[in-house]
C-alpha cells in the first residue's frame, strides 16, 4: 500500500478530520488505491509545459472601491451554532 496509517493520520490532522474507529483501515486502503491510480501521471512527459490553473487565459477584472454591503448580521447568524453579543463562539483559544 502506498500510504500507511501514520501518513493517513497526518493528512487527517492537516484536514481537521476525525476518522471514526472503523473508518481508519478502510481509509488507508482506499486512499492508497487513489494515490496509486493518480501515480500514472508520472508517465506523462511535461517538461516545459505551463501548468494550467484556469480553463481560460483571462485576467482578473477589478471592482470599484465602493461599499455596497449593509449590515445583515442577525440574518447571517441564524445559521450559527453559537453566538453571544454578535460574536461567534468557539472553545477558548489559548495563545
Amino acid at each position: 500500500m502506498s500510504l500507511d496509517k501514520n501518513q493517513v493520520q497526518h493528512i487527517a490532522t492537516l484536514a481537521r478530520l476525525r476518522l471514526a474507529e472503523g473508518e481508519s483501515a478502510e481509509t488507508v486502503e482506499k486512499l492508497s488505491r487513489i494515490v496509486d491510480f493518480v501515480d500514472q501521471l508520472s508517465q506523462a512527459a511535461t517538461d516545459d509545459v505551463v501548468p494550467m490553473a484556469h480553463p481560460f487565459n483571462e485576467t482578473q477584472r477589478l471592482r470599484a472601491d465602493e461599499v455596497t454591503e449593509t449590515d445583515d448580521r442577525d440574518h447571517f447568524q441564524e445559521n450559527a451554532p453559537a453566538v453571544s453579543d454578535g460574536l461567534y463562539l468557539v472553545p477558548k483559544v489559548i495563545e
Binding site: 485576467t59 449590515d71 448580521r73 447571517f76 453571544s84
Partner: protein
C-alpha cells in the same frame, strides 16, 4: 559579548491599505463597528460566495512598488494559504505566493555610524487580513469578530539586511512614512493598521551561513519592535553561549514582562499547501497603467529631506525629523514660507516647543491649536526684536491655550521687549551697584560671571530686556 556576534534581522510589515471597501468584498473597512456588522457573506466565507478584487488595492500596491524603486509585476497571482483558525473564515487566506505584485525594492536608512545603508525589499504582496478573537469575559469561550476579515493588507518583506534593533526601527519608520506619504495606509498602529513580524537570528562574526531564526509575531509599535528584538537577540546569544540551540519557531512579545515567549501549540508544524486560487484570475498590469500611477507619486521623504537641506539650509537631522510625516513637513514649509525668521529657527521651534506641546497633549500636527500662520507671526516678533526667544515660549503657551495671536498676547501681557538702551543702562547700573563682590570677582578675571549679571538684569525686567543689548551694555560697563 556583542562584539563576537552579528545580528541578522528581516521584517515583514503588514500595512492595512486605506480603501473604503474590503479587498474581495464590498463591505466597509471602517474601524470600530459593532462585532460582525461589517462582515458580509464573502467575509464570512459563506458557502457559494466568490471574491472579486478591489481595483484600489492594485493601484496602491503599484504606487508603493514605484516609491521603493521596485518592479511592479506585469502579472501577479493570488494563492490560497490553507490553515484552520477561527478568525480565518474560509480556512484559507487569499494571499500572493509565487508571483507577488511587487518585487526587488529598496530603501536607505542611516546605520550606527550615520552612513547611508541600503535595505533590500524582497517583495510586497497583497493579501486579506483575518478577523479578531476576543478571549475575555466569555466564560470558557473565545468570541470571533470578523469585521476586520478581508481588510486589504500589503505585506512588505525586507531582505535580512538589518543588523540591529535600531536599524529595524529606522527601516520600519521609513516604510511607515512612505505609506503615509503615498496615502495608501493610515499607519495607525494602535488600531493595528501597521504592524510587523521580525525574523531574528544571530551568528558569530565572520560566519557566512545564517543562524536559526525565530519569528516574533505581531509587533504593533516602534518601541515594541526595538525592545522585542533586543530581548530576542540577548536570549539567543545567551542560549548559544550556554551550549544550547535556537529553535526555529514563532514567538510572541509580552510587553508587560518585556520578553518574548514561544507560541507552542499542539498542532504539528504548519503545511500551508499554497496553490493558485481558482476563484481569482491573474492580475495583469501594463506599462501605461504603471506610468499613470507614477504620475500620481508625491515627493517622497528622502527627496523632501534633501530639498529641505538645500532650499532652507536646515540641518540634516532636523530635515529628517521634519520629513517623517507629510503633514509635519507641510507645516514646516507653511511656517518657513510665511515668517521673516530663519528656517533653522522655524525647524528648532517646531522640533522643540511645538513637538513637546503636541506630545504632552497627545495631539497630531494637524490637530495643533497653533496654526502655521500664527506661529510664523510669532517667529516674526522674535526676528523684529519685539520679544526674546525666552519670552516667545510664554507667548507660545498662551497661543496654545487659545488666548489669541502673538500680538494680542504680547500686548495683553505687556511682554514687549525693552530695547531702549537708556532704560537698560539704568537697570544695569542698579545691578552693578547692588553686587560689588561679584563685580570685583569678574574684574579679577572670572568671566563666567557675566551670566550672573545678565540673569539679574533679566530678573529685574521680567525677562523683557533684549538679551543682546544687555550683554553689550554689561560688558561695556564692567570693563
Amino acid at each position: 559579548m556583542s562584539g563576537q556576534w552579528e545580528v541578522v534581522i528581516g521584517l515583514e510589515i503588514h500595512a492595512q491599505l486605506a480603501t473604503k471597501s474590503k479587498i474581495f468584498s464590498a463591505a466597509s473597512t471602517a474601524y470600530g463597528a459593532e462585532p460582525n456588522t461589517q462582515a458580509c457573506l464573502v467575509d464570512l466565507g459563506y458557502p457559494g460566495v466568490l471574491p472579486v478584487l478591489n481595483a484600489e488595492v492594485v493601484r496602491m500596491a503599484a504606487k508603493f512598488g514605484l516609491a521603493v524603486n521596485a518592479t511592479v509585476a506585469p502579472r501577479s497571482v493570488f494563492a490560497r494559504k490553507n490553515y484552520f483558525y477561527p478568525d480565518l473564515p474560509k480556512g484559507y487566506q487569499i494571499s500572493q505566493y509565487e508571483l507577488p505584485i511587487v518585487e526587488h525594492g529598496e530603501l536607505f536608512i542611516a546605520d550606527a555610524d550615520g552612513n547611508e545603508k541600503r535595505i533590500g525589499i524582497t517583495r510586497a504582496h497583497l493579501e486579506e487580513d483575518a478577523g479578531k478573537s476576543i478571549h475575555e469575559g466569555l466564560d470558557g469561550y473565545s468570541g470571533i469578530d470578523l469585521n476586520r476579515a478581508g481588510t486589504p493588507l500589503l505585506e512588505i518583506v525586507s531582505e535580512p539586511d538589518l543588523s540591529s534593533a535600531r536599524e529595524a526601527v529606522a527601516y520600519m519608520r521609513k516604510i511607515h512614512s512612505i505609506v503615509r506619504y503615498l496615502g495608501i495606509s493610515d499607519g495607525n498602529m494602535q488600531e493595528g493598521s501597521f504592524r510587523c513580524d521580525a525574523n531574528v537570528s544571530v551568528r558569530p562574526v565572520g560566519q557566512d551561513e545564517l543562524g536559526t531564526r525565530a519569528e516574533i509575531k505581531n509587533l504593533n509599535s516602534f518601541r515594541y519592535v526595538e525592545k522585542a528584538i533586543n530581548f530576542e537577540v540577548e536570549r539567543q546569544i545567551e542560549l548559544i553561549e550556554d551550549g544550547g540551540q535556537v529553535q526555529q519557531e514563532t514567538r510572541l512579545y509580552d510587553s508587560d514582562k518585556d520578553e518574548t515567549r514561544s507560541m507552542r501549540s499542539k498542532e504539528e508544524a504548519n503545511d500551508y499547501r499554497y496553490f493558485p486560487d481558482p476563484d481569482l484570475l491573474p492580475v495583469e498590469i501594463d506599462a501605461a497603467y504603471i506610468e499613470a500611477v507614477r504620475a500620481t507619486l508625491p515627493e517622497l521623504p528622502d527627496a523632501k529631506q534633501q530639498r529641505f537641506i538645500d532650499d532652507y539650509g536646515i540641518r540634516e537631522d532636523d530635515a529628517a525629523i521634519l520629513t517623517t510625516s507629510l503633514l509635519l513637513a507641510d507645516y514646516f514649509e507653511a511656517v518657513a514660507g510665511a515668517t521673516e525668521g530663519k528656517a533653522q529657527g522655524v525647524a528648532n521651534f517646531i522640533i522643540g516647543d511645538l513637538s513637546s506641546a503636541l506630545n504632552r497633549d497627545g495631539l497630531d500636527i494637524e490637530q495643533s491649536p497653533v496654526s502655521a500662520k500664527d506661529l510664523a507671526l510669532m517667529l516674526d516678533r522674535i526676528k523684529d526684536n519685539t520679544i526674546s526667544g525666552k519670552i516667545a515660549k510664554e507667548v507660545f503657551e498662551a497661543m496654545w491655550a487659545g488666548e489669541g495671536t502673538a500680538d494680542e498676547i504680547i500686548e495683553a501681557r505687556g511682554l514687549k521687549q525693552i530695547t531702549d538702551s537708556s532704560a537698560i543702562e539704568a537697570i544695569v547700573d542698579n545691578v552693578i551697584e547692588a553686587n560689588p563682590g561679584q563685580v570685583a570677582e569678574y574684574k579679577a578675571g572670572k568671566d563666567k560671571l557675566i551670566g550672573f549679571f545678565v540673569g539679574q538684569v533679566m530678573k529685574e525686567t521680567g525677562g523683557k530686556a533684549n538679551p543682546g543689548q544687555v550683554n553689550a551694555i554689561l560688558k561695556d560697563k564692567l570693563s
